[in-house]
């Protein structure tokens, strides 16, 4: 890497200067590569090992966690802004300057936070998966594909430019496809994988075109360059900001399952539960939020003027509320959590779109812990009862105490009850909406908090209370699965204190400061102190949801199932059909691959080919006419040539099949000679 280039900010956010991070920032690329090394080792040696190659996957994540933790700590004390990149192609001149593609890694507050979340949650989920996948099919392949995901995710969050981000983006999409369809013998799982891939591919059109617009506006795809150009109010960037910003947002909507692209995520639950926990809850689906955060200066500089903010916030709010309602009617516990994830992603997107950089990312941070915890808890239950359906569960709190208590902690945190992590992060989103003038949407978000608490209470009640309705005797999962649950429960409770407005951890500052290590200052809103009135609204919604949910679902054991069928006219059928969005998408796909594709093929076969065959036939007829009718007089060379070839090819082919090499050679030589002679004659 002779042309290794280094970018370091001279003057950082808030006027402070940042460090370049030293050894661990220099070598942060190890985190991006190690999972791929694990991937290869698992493919090569996995089958021969005791744990089917999980050793490599876990080892890589452990190494990453060391790197990420050191960087996290360094960033707490000194703040790091560092970009390392090397050129992979110079593709030509654009407006007189070379257009360069690069790979490398970012080491700044945002990337470090993501490195740490991916490594920490990833490591725990990998360990859990050793227990969960024990005795399953293709375990080495499972860990290989899982490592492929981890590597792609780190490439994505470490990307110093849009090009590398796209590579990581599609890489996690591929891993998602492979793991959703992990049990590919069942074609339904394959279809779920296809749905995820294609839905994302549609959204990727936005990402690709957005990257082109933004990148070409300044002739550079790198995030520091885009950030600085945005901060400096670059005019050509401003000119494409509306379209480019919306297109990038369009891409983010796919990965982060925003309405109406949310349709793939619930189906993605077909994959093994650890996959749902790490990819489809904690990390991969936050890639869209991450993209918005990475390009935040662009929106901060131009979104207001371009008028695209309200559009993005509206999408986020629809997602957070409407998708939460869908969690109310699901029987599959993983689908409940999936819709919950979509809804929470709506919160994050709403925050980031409204200008709440830290608020959105802080919710991403806390959500990663408690949602991973909930999914792993659900996995533990599924492992015990061999069913995803809550109608096969019930009363499990006594049989599975560790799973039960950790699940309750996750649920309470998600419901936003003080002092659990979810309370603080959700409160900051409400404060941001309030401050940025989206008061109406703030109330929707509070209503959403009620729905969240409600469906989680329902899930807890149906799963752990009442009587057991499944088969056999469920047992608590082994320690290798419950230990990650217990570890994840800790940040689910405590992580909120990292960013209580006005509270700093001594000289370490708080989460807001850590994210402040950026190329250009964010200039987003931070509440100075906790707004207790707002907190009270949010808390009331959360507690209200829990109380009502409890009253409806917990005490009356025998009619739990019946409660589920309280059919509110209009709303209930709407929820059951998932707002008909899935049907519409299916219709579009059906039309494209059905009538439209068949029409194209028909056109090709019966129109274009018939023209070709018709011309061929006409030429043959003309040839016969010339030969018979004109008795070889005035033979038109081209027509005759064509028809002669057509007529005689059949018989000559049969002769050629005799395999006389001389004939082939002769024909070729003759043909070449003929051509030369033709040319000579023509002059």
């Amino acid at each position: 890497m002779t042309d290794l280039l280094v970018f370091a900010a001279e003057e950082g956010a808030h006027g402070g200067s940042f460090s370049e991070g030293g050894f661990f920032a220099d070598t942060a690329g190890i985190m991006l590569i190690s999972p791929f090394v694990a991937f290869l080792l698992i493919i090569w040696l996995g089958k021969q090992l005791k744990n089917d190659g999980a050793e490599f996957a876990i080892g890589a994540m452990a190494v990453n966690l060391v790197w990420a933790s050191v960087l996290f700590f360094q960033n707490m004390t000194e703040g790091i802004v560092r970009e390392v990149h090397f050129e992979i192609a110079n593709i030509g001149l654009f407006e007189g300057r070379e257009l360069i593609f690069e790979l490398g890694w970012m080491v700044d507050g945002l990337s470090i936070m993501m490195y740490w979340v991916v490594s920490f949650v990833g490591l725990l989920v990998f360990i859990y998966a050793v227990g969960y996948m024990h005795g399953d099919r293709r375990v080495p392949w499972f860990f290989a594909a899982f490592s492929l995901f981890a590597g792609s995710m780190l490439i994505l969050v470490g990307a110093p430019n849009l090009i590398q981000l796209i590579i990581g983006w599609e890489g996690v999409g591929l891993a998602s496809y492979l793991l959703i369809g992990f049990y590919w013998e069942d074609i339904e799982n394959v279809k779920a994988g296809n749905k995820a891939f294609l839905t994302n591919k549609v959204a990727d059109v936005g990402l690709i075109l957005g990257a082109i617009l933004v990148g070409l506006a300044i002739g550079d795809f790198s995030f520091p360059a885009i950030s600085e150009a945005a901060a400096a109010g670059n005019e050509s960037l401003g000119a494409v900001a509306a379209a480019g910003g919306l297109l990038l947002f369009f891409g983010a909507m796919g990965k982060s399952a925003q309405f109406p692209f949310h349709i793939w995520l619930p189906d993605a639950m077909a994959g093994p539960t650890p996959v749902s926990a790490l990819m489809h809850a904690a990390t991969m689906v936050t890639a869209g939020i991450y993209l918005m955060a990475r390009t935040f200066p662009l929106y901060q500089a131009f979104a207001e003027e371009a008028g695209i903010r309200p559009i993005m916030v509206t999408i986020g709010v629809i997602t957070l509320f409407a998708m939460g309602l869908l969690a109310l009617v699901a029987d599959d516990i993983k689908k409940v959590l999936a819709y919950s994830t979509v809804s929470q992603l709506g919160y994050m997107m709403t925050a980031v779109a409204a200008g709440g950089y830290t608020a959105g990312l802080f919710h991403l941070f806390t959500h990663a812990f408690f949602k991973a915890l909930l999914f792993l808890g659900a996995g533990s239950v599924i492992h015990a009862v061999h069913s995803n359906n809550m109608s096969d569960m019930g009363g499990l709190r006594k049989d599975m105490p560790k799973t039960f208590w950790t699940f309750v902690i996750g649920s309470v945190s998600l419901a936003g009850i003080i002092p659990f992590a979810g309370f603080f992060s959700k409160d900051e989103i409400l404060a941001t909406l309030d401050h940025e003038g989206y008061v109406g949407f703030m109330w929707v978000a509070i209503a959403g908090a009620f729905v969240t608490a409600f469906y989680m209470t329902r899930a807890v009640a149906l799963t752990f209370f009442g009587t057991y309705k499944g088969h056999g005797h469920p047992h608590e999962s082994p320690a290798i699965m419950t230990t990650p649950l217990i570890i994840l429960a800790v940040p689910s409770v405590l992580a909120g204190f990292l960013n209580v407005p006005g509270l700093k951890l001594g000289s370490f500052g708080n989460f807001t400061d850590w994210l402040g290590a950026r190329v250009v200052p964010m200039g987003d809103y931070h509440p100075e102190s906790l707004d207790w009135a707002l907190a009270a609204y949010g808390l009331t919604a959360g507690v209200g949801g829990i109380v009502i949910g409890w009253l409806l679902f917990a005490p009356d054991r025998d009619t739990q199932g019946e409660r589920d069928r309280v059919e509110i006219p209009v709303l209930y059928p709407l929820l059951r059909r998932k707002y008909y969005v899935d049907d519409a998408a299916l219709g579009l796909v059906g039309f494209t691959s059905g009538p439209l594709a068949r029409a194209t093929d028909w056109f090709n076969t019966y129109v274009l080919d018939n023209i070709v065959n018709g011309v061929g036939g006409a030429v043959r007829l003309a040839g016969r006419f010339v030969y018979n009718g004109l008795d070889q007089r005035g033979i038109d060379g081209i027509f005759n040539g064509l028809s002669a070839v057509a007529d005689s090819a059949g018989s000559s082919l049969r002769k050629l099949q005799t395999g006389r090499v001389q004939q082939y050679a002769t024909s070729v030589v003759i043909a070449a000679l003929v051509l030369v002679i033709v040319v000579v004659i023509i002059q």
């Binding site: 030509g92 001149l93 654009f94 407006e95 890489g171 394959v190 994988g193 059109v205 070409l216 099949q657």
Partner: protein, 545 residues
Amino acid sequence: MELFESGWGLSLIVFLPLLGAVALLMVPKENESLAKQLALTISLVTFGLSLVLIALFDYGAGGSFQFEADASWINAIDARYHIGVDGISLPLLVLSTFVLVLAIIYSWDHWEEPRNPKAFLILMLILGTGMNGTFVALDLVLFFIFFEVVLLPMYFMIGVWGDKSMRKIPGFSREIETRLYASIKFFLFTLFGSAFMLLGFLALYFNSGGLNGGERTFDIPTLISLGLDSIPESAGGLSGTAAWLIFGAMFLGFAVKVPMWPLHTWLPDAHTAAPTVGSVLLAAILLKLGTYAFIRISIPILPETSEIWAPAIAILAVIGIIYGSLACLAQTDMKRLIAFSSVGHMGFVMLGIATLTDIGINAAIIGMVAHGLITGLLFFLAGSMHHRYHTREMSRLGGNQKLMPVMGGILAFTAMASLGLPGLAGFWGEFMALLGAYNPLPSLAESSLGIFRTSMVLGAIGTVLTAGYMLWMLQKVNLGEPNEEWLGQEFHDVDRYEMTAWVPLIVLILIIGFYPRVVFGATTDAVVSLVETAYGATVTASTGG
């Protein structure tokens, strides 16, 4: 090295396969192993020489022709034996020699009826000379001859070793043997195009005298430097209409080969009917002859006329992308699906070319290389699967991943590469074609920016359709439970000849995916200087769009 500086090295790369074919004639038909070894050696030496070319190539001067040979040839028509490589032709020449080696390795144990390895190898080697020659020819007559030489071996490959099933062809009263219909269609279609192409070449020749001191020429570099269509007729240049017609005539010849919609209909038939190796060479190399000719001949010799044609080419390219992808979704035959996918992929290549920018043309070249590797591999796979299942009907296949895990894995990898997954070779060509279409040549941006930007959006939508049919194919062929008819049967997973032929392709797809500089290192200077020669240095420096 002396050999290469004198121009002999390049000639050797071109004619060694032909010499090999002559030598093969002497080998008795029964001695198959000698024939195979001889052919493999010849192709390996040719490939080795092209590697020497890579090592000796002066990348600082990628825009000028190197290792040239220029000798008088047919004096009566001023046709010269003029060959050379620049950064544009170098990757394609290497691809051509490389794929030939792999094709010979693959065929080692895979001979389709009526076998006769000796004859088949001879055809392959002749094809090698035609392909290599086309990429280095710097004289229009020489180019034409190499371009046509390719036709015959392929015609015989399809016609003799091709698909022997009978097919009902619309418009024909009785059923026709697939290979017969396909080979004749392929031959006539290309010949039809070539006739016009030759007319175009001749017209260039006859019009070149006025500017060249009365001396007419077929020499490509000379024709480029004349700037025929930028000089008014009165001063010895071409009139607008004449230039337009000449471009159009050459367009027909090149576009058939690419193939561009709606001249593509020979392709699905030829590809489907051809023996495996034939399909591979057809997809990997032969299709590139047309696109290469646009870059080597049409644009630099008639730059201003290219600007007039470019919007139309972009439109046809995008129709090809969407149309090809939709047609793929309607296929039931796996090989035919892959064949149709070429229409879409080559649409991206042509879209890149139509932008007339260095970025777009660069996109086209890496797109050609990537398509050669990826679709070549797909056809290898389709052939090997057909070899085992004796059917290509996707409704009968399924669960291949279970029956042949390695084959299934490679198929999945290649399908991902084909749908343009970033990080694999296929991505760059598609992405950069869109990049180029956003900001085409300034004069095009002025006259028809809407067309190019719409093409960009439609092209991007095309990538979704591409993903759609590739995933659908994987679902049908690879995943799910195997069809009942295969239960209890033994299937041999990938054998060593297949592995030897495929692993290099897989590795290259990965390398180019993550480090595209291996291609751009040669091409970028060349395309920048090509565009600057054609449209002036100011073009790349001015603000487009």
